[in-house]
Symmetry: C2
Subunit: 82 residues, 2 copies
């Protein structure tokens, strides 16, 4: 398993409740691909969301987010952290 | 105090030790601006680093990173998280 940071665009004006609902949609299906979304940080002004996950691959992260209704364009493997 | 996520580019091939040193350079001076860098995640393939901080403003985050030798172009205020 590896760790990933992915980036969403277009979440302008999203509320806490909407962010919770989007995260719950991921959690509901993530197990099917061995993914776990740990944390998500939203900036509703810029519409950015950053998600931290553990997963077997970038493609697994992308598939879960796409199936949950919020596809991503950027996903990065975390190779070191502090 | 608010929470911020900022993004660095150009950290290609950076080691764990180099990431630690960059983070330590921030920690050494962050108090002068009331900033605290909590976490950083590196993808050495893409050269991206994502830093999570608490700070009084975006500008304070930018000033500390610049003075520590690794200026950023992108910084986002976290308005919700899950």
């Amino acid at each position: 398993m590896a760790k990933f940071m992915d980036v969403h665009d277009g979440f302008f004006g999203v509320t806490q409740e909407q962010l919770d609902a989007a995260h719950d949609a991921d959690l509901k299906i993530e197990g099917e691909e061995g993914v776990h979304f740990e944390k998500a940080w939203l900036d509703r002004e810029s519409g950015k969301v950053f998600c931290l996950s553990t997963a077997p691959s970038k493609e697994a992260v992308m598939r879960i987010h796409e199936r949950a209704g919020h596809p991503i364009s950027e996903v990065y493997e975390v190779t070191a952290e502090v």
